[in-house]
């Protein structure tokens, strides 16, 4: 199974996609793909099978998002809290991720003549999270995937891996303080905008819609800073059973909600504080240093 698959929609679904698309669609959707294990339990298969089907569902969902004209998607693949699961399950999840990232990279190797699918779709892959918590081989694969796709500009897939929002915010605060400490920034530059610029997601617009599956109604430490003005949709379905209808329902809900969230967005933007050259320069340097550490990972011997 590849990262992006051919469209699986039948003509009725395709028609509905066309209709929904004629209204406003979010430019960025975030997903919490919850319920793989409950799905496995329900269907009497191994946990690993649940996770594997969850990945297939992700590929399918990404295709739907492309069909709908949604250019950016962020998914919660693995939380730092998930390291607390049994060693066996964590190992299996790491193995699965390794496989998928290898697959992603090898798609390029296969197609010496035609450009591979990811590049063809212009997909830029970014992994957000504390990569230092991951095994070396996966870090290297992640670095390779990010570097390979970094210049793609058409669509963006952000994968939250070894991620929690609190860790991200703490890291942003630390980055900002160290900037002030070494005089790259002044105390007055410490604003809401600066902290946003120090997050892992600093180059992405905030998601306009957050979808969580499995019927749970909490954010589980996911993008807490970024979703402050977003429409949240809790879908009462296990992730492997998520269908185009659920996605369309979420988008309809978004279409009926976004106007009411505009005042919140405006108030939030007002609180951003003014942007000056020092802050922009700091942001550019930060992006460069993050890229440099990826290059270093890429060249490191696994």
């Amino acid at each position: 199974m590849s990262w992006i698959r051919a469209s699986t929609l039948n003509w009725i679904q395709f028609l509905c996609v066309k209709i929904i698309k004629s209204g406003r669609v979010p430019k960025h959707i975030a997903f919490i793909m919850d319920g793989n294990r409950r799905y496995a339990q329900k269907n009497n298969v191994r946990k690993f099978e649940g996770h594997s089907q969850g990945f297939d569902k992700l590929a399918e969902t990404l295709q739907w998002c492309l069909d709908l004209g949604i250019p950016e998607v962020t998914v919660y693949a693995f939380s730092i809290e998930n390291f607390k699961r049994s060693q066996e399950e964590v190992d299996a999840l790491m193995e699965l991720s390794q496989q998928k990232f290898e697959r992603l990279l090898s798609e390029k190797m296969f197609c010496c003549f035609a450009r591979d699918k990811l590049m063809e779709h212009g997909v830029c892959i970014r992994v957000i999270g504390n990569l230092s918590l991951l095994p070396q081989n996966i870090r290297k694969l992640i670095a390779q995937a990010m570097i390979l796709t970094k210049d793609n500009k058409k669509t963006f897939l952000n994968v939250a891996f070894a991620y929690t929002a609190r860790e991200e915010m703490a890291q942003a605060v630390r980055t900002a303080v160290s900037g002030v400490e070494r005089d790259a920034l002044q105390l007055s530059d410490v604003t809401q905008q600066l902290l946003s610029n120090c997050l892992y997601t600093s180059t992405s617009p905030d998601p306009e819609l957050l979808i969580r599956t499995s019927g749970e109604v909490r954010l589980s430490d996911y993008l807490l800073w970024q979703v402050s003005c977003s429409c949240i949709y809790f879908a009462d379905v296990l992730w492997p059973e998520f269908s185009i209808w659920h996605l369309l329902a979420a988008i309809i809900k978004y279409q009926r909600s976004y106007a009411q969230l505009v005042p919140v967005q405006q108030a939030d933007e007002m609180a951003n504080g003014c942007l000056n050259e020092r802050i922009s320069l700091f942001h550019t340097c930060l992006a460069a240093s993050r890229l440099a550490s990826l290059e270093e990972l890429n060249h490191a011997v696994a």
Binding site: R166, M169, A170, R174, V190, L224, I232
Partner: protein
């Protein structure tokens, strides 16, 4: 043109949904009025609540009401505060991103004092309220909280990301002054500092008013595991609605990543 045909269908869909929604809300408000008239009127409403919550698996220790885009009804918020005392909830926070509630804190104070003489004594006005300095002569000593007290707080948009910005600034000053190093800054430190600043535990339950589910910018750091439930409207909220939501919360199971 095909495009406009899709657009027409799209408009029809949304008109249809709006109509359904309208009928639903009329039906709901009618039912609410009927309930009020036919009245299983409860004499001892507080006793009624305390008896009921005993049946639930768990009760939040910190409840938040996110007012959202609704106009504020002080009387109804006062009701929620008083019912929360009866339910054994120790912290209640009201959030409106406009900051109107914060500005008009006196109205809430008035509504509360009209609602209840007996319970008024049991309300501790939190650090984030203007009343904090006026009424709390004793305050909470060293974070010791007596269980029957209700800690009431009012938050607005700037208390969320703004608090984190403020904290970052003060950390910068500490680092520059050599009181700490950058590497000391981690999740636990930030959590501890924000907790000391706000004087509240993380909310377990947030009720958002209206049809749009969003955090409306409410305290991003503190809501990492908060359950979000919909309160159709806080206007004319009934004890029945309140108990139903607490019951729903009682059924939420958290696995904390495991």
């Amino acid at each position: 043109m095909t495009f406009s045909l899709f657009r027409v269908l799209w408009t029809l869909l949304h008109v249809f949904l709006t109509a359904v929604h309208f009928i639903e809300s009329v039906w709901n408000s009618l039912r609410r009025k009927l309930d009020l008239v036919s009245k299983n009127y409860v004499d001892d409403e507080l006793g009624f609540i305390s008896r009921h919550v005993k049946l639930f698996n768990k009760i939040p220790s910190h409840l938040v009401v996110i007012v959202g885009n609704e106009t504020i009804s002080y009387r109804d918020l006062a009701n929620v505060a008083v019912w929360s005392i009866a339910a054994g909830i120790s912290f209640v926070s009201f959030y409106d991103h406009h900051g109107i509630l914060k500005k008009n804190e006196a109205e809430l104070l008035k509504a509360l004092s009209e609602k209840t003489k007996a319970q008024f004594e049991n309300i501790v006005w939190g650090k984030r309220t203007k009343t904090h300095g006026l009424i709390n002569k004793n305050g909470t000593k060293n974070g010791v909280v007596s269980s029957h007290k209700l800690h009431l707080n009012i938050f607005s948009l700037s208390d969320g990301k703004g608090a984190l910005v403020k904290l970052t600034k003060s950390l910068c000053q500490s680092v520059i002054a050599g009181q700490m190093t950058v590497t000391d800054i981690n999740q636990d430190l930030i959590d501890e500092k924000l907790r000391a600043e706000m004087d509240i535990p993380d909310p377990e339950l947030a009720l958002y008013c209206g049809d749009v589910c969003s955090t409306y910018g409410f305290l991003p750091w503190q809501i990492h595991v908060t359950e979000f439930l919909q309160l159709q409207s806080h206007h004319n909220i009934q004890i029945k609605d309140f108990l139903l939501l607490l019951k729903k919360y009682g059924k939420c199971v958290q696995r904390h990543g495991k």
